[in-house]
Symmetry: C2
Subunit: 219 residues, 2 copies
Amino acid sequence: MPRTGRRPGPGGTRDKILAAARAQFGKLGYERATIRGIARAARVDPKLVLHYFGSKDGVFKAAMEFPFDPAEAIPQLLAPGVDGLGERLVRFFIDVWDSPAGARAHALVRSIVASDEAASLLRDFVRREVLARVAESLEVPDPQLRAGLAASQLVGVAILRYIVKVEPIVSATPDELAAWLGPTLQRYFTARDGDHRGLPGPGHARGTDRRRKRPARSA
Amino acid sequence: MPRTGRRPGPGGTRDKILAAARAQFGKLGYERATIRGIARAARVDPKLVLHYFGSKDGVFKAAMEFPFDPAEAIPQLLAPGVDGLGERLVRFFIDVWDSPAGARAHALVRSIVASDEAASLLRDFVRREVLARVAESLEVPDPQLRAGLAASQLVGVAILRYIVKVEPIVSATPDELAAWLGPTLQRYFTARDGDHRGLPGPGHARGTDRRRKRPARSA
């Protein structure tokens, strides 16, 4: 798996900066956190933060320990076109979780479910770096919704397979998961209005403003 | 939403029993926890535990605060048959999360992601009470896997919509979600071998032993 950021330097300076960065991003959010503030919290010179991570975005990505670099992986997955994209994404996602990077993915899921701050940071990151890239490549209505639906299927299978560990999802092979989940994602990416609704019947929102009827929600 | 167990009694006895039950089930697991042990931890007579909750299973269900009673809800959802089952399940699931019980669902997700003990308790409960009931109603190969895949799509959309709060999944209407996700679940429930693989091509597992090739996994 590609890693963001450089290899650890001597004396754990890099780790000190990352710990400070996690605290600053969590407390202030991405926009208000600064290289200068992170350096101050880590008791190092701001130049050292830039030396290790290049930019605020660089230190953010390294601090988040996202299990792969979307700027590298997503364009590669999109390059062959939308044909077979669903299956490619499923295989890539399962590969990441089955690799040593799966431990980082697991830690990331724990932190976002436990903390609204972590959820907010990850949400912005995933929207910008993952979902927006996928949505851009889709030439259909509602590309962001479709990218989000695909993400929901991938996140759900990761939760059941790696975190809650529900059989027989745990012992299904990557091939089997790709065969079942690939067409689900592919439908989200490519179905045209009329065929994407699948089950005709009363009560659906066809032709209406879909954002209109959102009920108030507690919790 | 139906609730498991009786209304709170005076003096918070019921709540004391539930707190003790959560600790006992979390520490010992369902099998090893006992009514007697729960009563001792709550400093009440075991008869009182039975008075409030009827059985170990009853106190377990109440302690877990599952947001609906599967013994009641699942047979109702299955009763009309497999036609339209996918859409009925999506609508029911979204309704639960959009209702006041959504707060309990949220708390449950937090506790299972944070704790392996809670995950193990919930896994057994969901397998027995939810997935087994759904799988029994499916007259196709691999019914447990199919029920698990359906659960994975529902869990994933709940994580993105209610916990991480990713747009436009958050503001999609229940109708829109039912129209997109209903056919996904329906395919998992009803697709026959040959059509459920969807995307023909090399590298899939058709005709091979699907359990065979599970790779070793770290993390």
